[in-house]
């Protein structure tokens, strides 16, 4: 509890470090903040061409929204994912990159990984606004769902923060973490129903049946992935315009709190040793 108070006490520093990231990033570029949209748009274009047009992946139309646009359906899962991936990789590097600061000034170290959540969330918020406008133009009735979308965004940010804290510490002791992470994130992305609908996994799982004579199916293992639940949450809210089941919400809340709790405990244990370990 005392630790949380200390973190809360550094909120001003957290805000300043976040705005350092945000303002410093696109300085001296002509398009400025618009660049943060370039990456998701490029990904959207590639995946829509390859998976939507070539492989003809056909997700079910939004229920009850009636939307049937692959690119928008894709973005509802892709934007939360790119946010999560950027927090994980920026968070992993946050302590090592600021080693000079850690060795010279005493301050609450936890603000360093948390500020990467802040600056990524800033870009993500920008992207989500564009997505919501695009879906509204396409005919989705997403406006009343915005408060719940924001709740879901906070949940994912909490989950990402926890993961970022763990990775930041692990990267101090094992510099391999950041390289390993980029590979893990690639696998992880394809293990999450972002560019294909989960119905494909469901039907494949039904065909295979229980694994090795047990009741456990492929789908059961597949849904252990927390990002699967977060993506489902966002897709049902934004694309389908319906209320996700209480179980989905509960799973996401549990993952978020567990990740943050473990992250804070690990971070706190190692915080004092950082100046020496770096």
């Amino acid at each position: 509890m005392k630790y949380l108070q200390e973190v809360w006490g550094s909120r001003e520093l957290l805000f300043n470090l976040t705005s350092r990231e945000v303002r410093g990033k696109y300085k001296r570029t002509v398009f400025g903040q618009l660049w943060s949209l370039a990456n998701p748009l490029a990904l959207m274009l590639v995946y829509t061409l390859v998976f939507g047009l070539l492989f003809r992946i056909k997700p079910l139309p939004g229920d009850p929204s009636g939307l049937d646009v692959f690119a928008l359906w894709l973005l509802c899962g892709l934007l939360p994912w790119t946010f999560f991936a950027s927090v994980a990789s920026a968070g992993a590097g946050s302590l090592v990159e600021n080693s000079n600061l850690i060795q010279k000034v005493s301050f609450s170290r936890v603000v360093l990984p948390l500020s990467t959540v802040g600056s990524s969330a800033y870009n993500w918020g920008f992207e989500m606004i564009v997505l919501i406008i695009a879906i509204s133009i396409a005919g989705g009735f997403v406006l009343p769902w915005i408060p719940l979308v924001m709740v879901a965004m906070v949940l994912l940010a909490v989950f990402a923060a926890g993961v970022g804290l763990i990775l930041a510490i692990s990267n101090v002791y094992f510099r391999d973490t950041q390289y390993l992470l980029s590979i893990v994130l690639q696998f992880w992305m394809y293990l999450t129903p972002i560019i294909y609908p989960i119905s494909l996994v469901e039907s494949a799982s039904k065909k295979t049946g229980g694994l090795a004579g047990t009741q456990v199916t492929v789908l059961d293992i597949y849904t252990l992935n927390p990002m699967e639940h977060f993506v489902t949450l966002f897709r049902e809210l934004i694309y389908d315009n319906r209320f996700p089941s209480g179980v989905e919400w509960l799973v996401c809340v549990c993952w978020a709190l567990a990740a943050l709790g473990v992250g804070l405990i690990i971070f706190r244990r190692n915080e004092r040793n950082l100046a020496e370990a770096l």
Binding site: L17, R20, K104, V105, D176, R272
Partner: protein
């Protein structure tokens, strides 16, 4: 002089010297250990008190543990044994301009650096003019700091750090920044500090600086406290030991 500002109580600090340091996962898994090391004692059972309102110097040759002690005082390292307690707000100046972002303007960096050093936004706003005035970079305050000369850069950094306004100030050899004019200004600032009854702890290799500024001195030698006391006799003993070659 009876009040104590900082109490250094039987402080021991050791570092691990790595014979082979494996920071990769592979070696950790393959050999079941991350490193082979032996402990190196940087500070051994150091005890002294810093009186309130004094200017306290830490002297000693290279590798005597001055900087380690300073970092312990600044809450960057934590002693393995013993404790350091301070009474009042402590601020450390081990480096100037920490956390400056080169692309941001001087103005933005003042707010950023100020908050890293523990000032609230209100504090910085209140002291803003004083900081800018002291650094002497008014003309360039809205320019990105990467365009600053190195002198302007450290002057701005120093001006922010000195305005944190702590009860106890811990200073590494940062006095050697800027031109003569600026150094005089810094010197004056330390004198003002002292007059306000605040404590300054200073590490320097320049005996002249220590002699003119400090009233108390601790002399460290290979991690152990050799002598502590009034400035003049301690400095003299230290210089004598250098001449006789120990």
């Amino acid at each position: 002089m009876s009040d104590v500002a900082v109490k250094v109580d039987h402080v021991t600090k050791s570092f691990r010297m790595y014979h082979e340091r494996n920071q990769s996962l592979k070696s950790a898994i393959m050999r079941g250990r991350t490193s082979v090391h032996e402990d190196f004692l940087a500070l051994r059972n150091v005890t002294f008190d810093v009186p309130v309102g004094s200017t306290f110097g830490l002297i000693g040759s290279n590798g005597s543990g001055k900087s380690t002690l300073l970092k312990c005082l600044a809450n960057i390292y934590y002693p393995n044994e013993g404790s350091i307690s301070h009474f009042g707000r402590i601020a450390a100046m081990l480096e100037v301009g920490s956390g400056f972002h080169a692309e941001l303007s001087g103005r933005e960096n003042i707010f950023l650096n100020g908050s890293i050093l523990g000032m609230s936004k209100k504090d910085v706003t209140r002291k803003f003019d004083e900081i800018v005035d002291f650094s002497g970079v008014e003309q360039f305050i809205d320019q990105p700091v990467k365009n600053y000369s190195s002198g302007m850069y450290v002057r701005l950094g120093f001006a922010i750090a000195i305005n944190v306004d702590p009860d106890i100030l811990v200073v590494d050899e940062v006095l050697a920044v800027g031109d003569q004019d600026f150094q005089d200004k810094c010197f004056q600032k330390f004198v003002d500090f002292k007059e306000q009854g605040k404590t300054v702890i200073l590490v320097s290799h320049s005996m002249q600086t220590v002699q003119t500024m400090c009233d108390h001195v601790a002399w460290l030698n290979h991690g152990e406290l050799n002598a502590v006391g009034a400035a003049e006799p301690t400095i003299k003993a230290y210089i004598d030991s250098l001449h006789t070659g120990e």
